[in-house]
């Protein structure tokens, strides 16, 4: 953690890490849910099964859409973090060039 990035920088780092944890977790849970559905399917037939398949597909789609959203959030946070890092480096460079007043 770099204190030079300030509070915003630190929270941006935390946000990026949170995204890095959640995205694979979501994929893991999509897989886990698919496995759970496989348990229910044998010999299940009829209109309730059809309803289940529709709702199951919606859930899986929503979870995968969630992964995409997390990637987008990570991209925004990482971009902002890069800006903050660049600003911090510029400040450091100026300090080194001009020296403390």
């Amino acid at each position: 953690m770099s204190f030079a990035l300030g509070w915003e920088g630190q929270t941006a780092i935390e946000a990026v890490h949170a995204c890095d944890r959640l995205a694979p977790k979501l994929l893991e849970l999509v897989e886990q849910h698919a496995h759970a559905a496989e348990v229910a399917r044998p010999d299940w037939a009829g209109p309730h099964r059809d309803t289940f398949e529709d709702r199951y597909a919606n859930v899986q789609q929503a979870l995968l859409a969630g992964v995409c959203w997390v990637v987008q959030v990570r991209h925004d946070a990482a971009t902002r973090l890069a800006q903050l890092t660049a600003e911090a480096e510029e400040t450091a460079r100026l300090l080194l060039t001009t020296g403390p007043r």
């Binding site: 890490h17 959640l22 977790k25 849910h33 010999d43 009829g46 709702r55």
Partner: protein
């Protein structure tokens, strides 16, 4: 709604619910941690004011997926339970249960199924072919009465019937809190035993269709004459407590006034279309009195005034049992309970067995003590 064959293993559906519950728990924990980090970042990156706004506007769409998953999980568990109930099996059973979507649906959402909408007449002789009372322990003083059918939630037609037995010269039609080992009216004191209830439903229903404008106007005239709605209102029957194998009783005190206003002099009771149960000889002065014809104005006033109250008395409490015996024969016992009021304004309950679709296809129940 058509009947479609369907099958499932209830225990496997319940297992899905358990596994999905684990997914839900993990997802919820992950989202709480994630949201805390993202909200901190939004607050920090927006400054004091904008940060608050951004934090407030923040909506994690993955929560919608979690809610949907939670609902699907609960629903599948409910379907598993409905399959178990419809098939008469255990909820943990992993055996395949094959039934119809209507039977499962009746357990999933039984409120949709109202018995009054499903009573059928059948062709002449159908009832006797479906349920021949002469082959079922018939003897002098006991047997079954009936003529019509009821279409069950599973789409099958069940013959409607009213059992009766005679004990010490008195005819009884139902049990009232039968002790174990005591003879039951429903199996004709043991001469037609072996029936088991595969499904039972109780509730409150409207026993006739909502009337049209003209019918409502005429009902209004009748209601004004009677001073209060004919029959039982929804609130009347909701006070009844129905128990399987017992006579109904009132769970709450009626909120109707015991001292209702006397109707105006020109209003005299007229005979209803069907005599009250057990009172076929009731005289109605309105049928004979010349004044009953009344003036058109009086009738109009009665009609408009009474129309507001018309049709309120179209409700009954019901208890329907669908039964089957070892030979695979089926039958249905459809009890309706109406609420009446005596001269002192005290409520009383009249129970009838419904035996067919016509309004007089009723057998007034005398409960065995």
């Amino acid at each position: 709604m058509s009947s479609v064959q369907c099958s499932a293993r209830p225990g496997e559906l319940i297992e899905y619910t358990r596994a999905a519950g684990d997914v839900i728990w993990q997802l919820r924990a992950a989202l709480v941690t994630f949201d805390a980090a993202i909200e901190d970042y939004l607050f920090a990156s927006g400054g004091l004011v904008l940060g608050w706004v951004r934090e407030l506007l923040y909506r994690d769409p993955i929560w919608n997926a979690l809610v949907e998953l939670d609902e699907v999980s609960s629903w599948v568990g409910h379907v598993g339970w409905a399959f178990a109930m419809a098939g008469g099996g255990s909820i943990s059973s992993t055996d395949v249960i094959t039934t119809t979507n209507l039977a499962v649906g009746s357990w999933l959402d039984p409120i949709e199924w109202k018995p009054a909408d499903h009573v059928r007449s059948g062709q002449a002789g159908d009832w006797l072919r479906a349920f021949n009372p002469l082959c079922r322990g018939y003897r002098t003083g006991s047997g079954y009465r009936g003529s019509g059918f009821i279409e069950g939630p599973d789409g099958r037609l069940y013959p409607l019937l009213a059992p009766f037995v005679t004990r010490d010269g008195e005819e009884y039609h139902a049990d009232d809190r039968l002790a174990p080992g005591e003879p039951s009216v429903l199996d004709l004191d043991g001469s037609d035993a072996g029936w088991t209830t595969v499904w039972e439903t109780m509730g409150v229903e409207r026993w006739r269709e909502a009337p049209g404008l003209w019918e409502r106007f005429m009902l209004g005239v009748g209601n004004t004459v009677a001073g209060r709605p004919n029959g039982s209102t929804e609130s009347d029957v909701e006070k009844l407590v129905l128990q399987s194998g017992a006579a109904p009783y009132f769970g709450f005190v009626s909120d109707r006034s015991s001292t209702e206003s006397t109707p105006p002099q020109y209003i005299v009771p007229k005979a209803p279309d069907f005599a009250p149960p057990g009172q076929p000889d009731t005289m109605y002065p309105g049928n004979n009195a010349p004044a009953a014809a009344g003036s058109g104005t009086a009738m109009l006033i009665e009609g408009i005034g009474g129309a507001l109250m018309a049709d309120l008395g179209s409700f009954d409490a019901y208890d329907v049992m669908f039964q089957q015996n070892a030979a695979g024969d089926t039958r249905a016992l459809y009890k309706r309970v109406y609420v009446g009021f005596d001269d002192a304004g005290e409520p009383y309950a009249d129970s009838v067995w419904v035996t067919g679709p016509e309004n007089n296809d009723h057998v007034l129940i005398n409960y065995a003590p």
